[in-house]
Amino acid sequence: MSDVGTVLSAQRGVVEAPAGCGKTQLIVDVLTEPSELPILVLTHTSAGVAALRNRLLARGVPTNRYKVATIDSWVMHAIGCYPQCAGYVVDPENINYIATREAAIRLCNNGAINSILRASYGRLLVDEYQDCSVSQHALITALSNVLPTIVFGDPLQAVFGFGRDLLPHWQNEVLGYFPHLGTLNIPWRWNNVGAGELGAWLLQVRQLLLAGQSIDLRTCPNFVEWVPTPNNPAELIQTQVNAQFAISRQFPDDKVLIIGDSINPDTRHTYASRARGVNVVETVELKDTIQHIRCMIGQAGVPLLVAIVNFLKGVMANVNGDRLLTRTQSILNGRNRTPPTFQESAAVRICQNGGYPEALAFLEAMSQDRDRRVYRDVPFRMVVDAMNRVSADPNLNLVEVFISMREQRRHSGRVVFGRSIGSTLLLKGLEADHTIILDADNPARKRGMNANHLYVALTRGAKSVKVFSRSPILPGY
């Protein structure tokens, strides 16, 4: 068992924290204890920082007790202070993160900087340690020579780890360096809502998954429902939407997370376009939207309309873009028989050498059309806001404005309301009342879930889990 005392008295260590077992609460409790120096808390994502900060503010922990940052932002700050000692000058245009971590390690090996770090922080806590890459692990071990360091993580929740920077081996490299202080084992998330049975089942499942064994979805009948995947793809999505509506009818105020394909966002978007009232959890990068925006920049007239229609196709249901463009041409040429609709008139005004103001009017008209529906609200709102700003100040660059809004969003943290669809990567760290897993045993190697993804998916819902799969028994991995 790991408690506040254990964490505060250890010089080095790992606290293993299965999902929903009070890890964040433990961190908050540690930071609540009065201490001479603030505690440095590092995590991976800006969203994680925002979430923890909000939790601390809500608990009323004095802000001088802690300093929360992402590993990378802390590294940038530190090497920015002592570029010569770090032997690295940050070029904001082109940041080599692996090099910045190596530079920060050089700071940790500098005796004078050590004294600065020891005067600044009483202790280091690192959250979500299972997501630390090899180079980040090297940095944290270097820091642990300067500050007492406790890391929190769960190897089964490691779903990141891509690109060149691999994850260190948990058993050999992480536990080989940081002594194991204990594993949290009370499933608070489920106990608190009267679903202790589900919580206990998930702890069992965790052991099975860790051991590489198969799990049977029928062994927790009160809380876990297995739904066989229909063979007909069209039938599949309708069944899934119906299942989701059934939950919403029964618990109208509850949060539902729908976990779709990890790799292909289009399938998730398709689901959202079919299920009214479902939000899409967007990636931080919003890569597809940026691409559309690049096509709009500096454009006017027909090319601008085409770019906007292409963008709308990906965020709005029933755009019928090709028909809209043909109709616009007919209207322009005076060959139309039926009078133009409100939306078509707006499109025509863009074609008559219209710019962003006309585009904004068109977007507004489209969003008000009862036959159409915006199912990706975030990119739609952001494009409208960015365009509004550029219309007000033509000196601004649409892409730059959009990127700055995106960065702002990155730092404000994620909040998910009502019913949302995302992937395990996007929904990790978020919790809801109910979870629906759309495809737990896709045979395609790339699209299937491994043990980690499955565990993360299964542990999102506090009250119920609904799993679509071909077999009730999910194989070991």
Binding site: L37, H77, A78, P83, A112, I113, L117
Partner: protein, 593 residues
């Protein structure tokens, strides 16, 4: 927190100094107007939490407001607050081994912060932290106010009275941890006072109140029943309203300067908060035994690594109590500016350049010995290192003679003598003084053969040497030069000092019993002179301060014009050297401005 480096540019008398002070006591000495107090002021202004100082044109060096005042004080032994990475862009490194500061701390460096005070011609002082990299990146940052108060030094000026009350920058304020409670008690007291005051009323203001009411009514300003009450805001905790009193209710503010300084220093040690103390004229207002007490309290005798004291003094008593390495010599030399290569029309020709030097003693045994034995010399701008006591006696005799005749004495020219303690020690001592920036001359005899290299080396260090020609000892130079009628008084002094037998013996010895004391004294002939000179030298007849002083004062000086060149030429040149001292301005040159 300790001051590691002080850099001052264009501040009052200081054109440019760079100085690495030591921990513990740093006692600044030097001739008047050399900039000692200015250094204290600069440290105080740059580090202090005082904001009320108003800069004026006279704070600029030579009134030249085109050159900014720039004071940089680098502090080490930082508290956690200052060590915090929030000041990361400003942390610098101090290497104590080779006393250098680098812009970023290397692994074995001490982490330091540089506090900068910058004043441009708008006279608006700007306080900030300084590092090269932050300046390059145009990052500006100041110490947080609380941290500035934390490092703010305690200044004991001529008036320490404000420390005897709770007020801004007062030591009592620093000692008070629970200010809020005292403040509310004070506010309550002030309200009571107001109530009592309003009951009793204030005589003599009724008239005024009446007039105010009338005028207000005439103007239609609604003021009814104006009354005179105490203004509570005038009574604040940190406004100096609460002060220490003794058991007879006499405020401690009335303590003498010395006593209050002593008390404040004690309190300062007690709080242990600010570790830097600044004291002008440490001896001010204190009897010798209390000076020692104060120095003790300041930590002059202990090796406390956590405190630092900057003081100035003019007192030999203070100097004698200090260790040599606690001394720093501050000098400022006015150098004539080189003539401009090309005269630019309309340009004001620069008159002179001030060269400021701040040199700390190393604390070697020789320095320590020199300080103990020749304290007064350290307080003079020019030093004559005399070979021994005989030569010192001559100088003292000369000085007395000048004063007796109503002339300005040698000391008044800014000159003091030091005991060289014989050859070769005198050269070491001269070198020490010269390396500290003193103007140094040597007065020595020539009976011992001195290595030519030593003399050359002395000249290279800027030391002027005055000595008798032709291997004369001082005694032989005297007997070679004195006019005939002076031989008898010279012999009398020798007899008083050495006894007649001893003198007689020496004369007989060198003259092969040709002459005797009686003969030389009563029937002096010129052919006796060489024998007397040799006998005097061999017998060291005046080898102490008293006899040689008498010789000069009573015999040689009154007959100066009649004395031979062997004696008068070197001494004359030396006197010339003394009069040329920059500090020895001709009399009556001071003019009212």
């Amino acid at each position: 927190m300790l001051v590691r480096h002080v850099e001052i540019r264009n501040f009052r008398g200081l054109r440019e100094i760079s100085w690495f002070p030591k921990q513990g006591v740093n006692c600044l000495i030097g001739p008047g107007d050399s900039g000692k107090s200015t250094i204290l002021d600069a440290i105080d202004l740059a580090m202090g939490a005082r904001r009320q100082y108003v800069f004026s044109d006279s704070d600029f060096h030579l009134y030249d407001i085109s050159k900014d005042i720039d004071i940089r004080v680098t502090v080490g032994q930082l508290s956690n607050n200052l060590m915090n990475i929030r000041y990361g862009h400003f942390h610098r490194g101090f290497n104590s081994t080779n006393t250098t500061i680098s812009d970023e701390p290397a692994t074995s460096d001490e982490v330091v912060l540089t506090l900068r005070l910058h004043v441009q011609d708008d006279l608006e002082p700007v306080w900030s932290l300084y590092s090269e990299r932050a300046e390059q990146n145009e990052e500006e940052r100041n110490l947080a106010w609380a941290h500035r108060q934390e490092i703010s030094p305690v200044r004991l000026g001529a008036y320490s009275a404000h420390h005897m009350a709770w007020g801004a920058n007062s030591i009592l304020n620093k000692m008070s941890t629970d200010k809020a409670r005292a403040a509310s008690a004070l506010a309550a007291a002030a309200r009571q006072a107001r109530d009592t005051f309003s009951e009793v009323g204030c005589e003599g203001v009724d008239d005024v109140l009446g007039k105010v009411n009338t005028v207000a009514q005439n103007l239609g300003v609604p003021t009814q029943q104006t009354q005179a009450l105490l203004d509570i805001r005038g009574v604040s905790f940190s406004g100096g309203a609460i002060a220490l009193h003794d058991n007879r209710n006499i405020p401690l503010k009335n303590l003498g300067t010395g006593s209050s300084r002593l008390l404040v220093t004690g309190l300062q040690n007690h709080t242990g908060t600010s570790s830097v103390t600044l004291i002008d004229e440490v001896e001010h207002g204190l009897e010798p035994y209390r000076i020692l007490r104060l120095l003790d309290e300041l930590g002059a005798k202990s090796d406390n690594a956590n405190t630092q004291v900057f003081m100035t003094t003019h007192s030999p008593i203070v100097l004698r109590e200090l260790k040599a390495d606690q001394l720093t010599i501050v000098r400022s030399i006015v150098m004539p500016a080189p003539p401009p290569q090309v005269a630019v029309e309309g340009e004001i020709p620069q008159q002179s350049i001030v060269l400021n030097t701040v040199i700390s003693l190393f604390g070697t045994q020789e320095e320590q010995k020199l300080l103990r034995t020749n304290t007064e010399a350290f307080l003079a701008p020019s030093v004559i290192v005399c070979e021994g006591k005989t030569e010192i006696g001559l100088m003292r005799g000369l000085d007395f003679n000048y004063t007796e005749c109503g002339h300005r004495g040698l000391i008044a020219h800014g000159c003091f003598w030091a005991d060289g303690n014989g050859d070769p020690s005198l050269f070491n001592r001269a070198k020490i003084f010269a390396s500290l920036g003193y103007r140094v001359a040597i007065l020595m005899d020539s009976d011992v053969r001195t290595v030519q290299i030593t003399l050359t080396e002395m000249q290279a260090s800027g030391v002027s040497i005055y000595r008798w020609p032709q291997n004369h000892s001082t005694e032989s130079a005297l007997f070679s030069s004195a006019p005939a009628h002076c031989i008898q008084p010279l012999l009398s002094i020798a007899c008083e000092w050495k006894s007649e037998d001893a003198i007689d013996y020496r004369i007989k010895e060198v003259s092969n019993n040709t002459y005797t004391l009686a003969l030389c004294r009563d029937q002096f002939q010129e052919e006796m002179r060489p024998f007397l000179a040799q006998a005097a030298g061999n017998g060291s007849w005046y080898k102490d301060m008293e006899p040689s002083e008498r010789v000069m004062r009573e015999v040689v000086a009154p007959n100066w014009g009649l004395c031979g060149e062997v004696l008068t030429q070197p001494l004359g040149n030396l006197i010339q050297w003394i009069r040329q001292a920059p500090t020895a301005q001709p009399e009556q040159q001071v003019q009212a401005q």
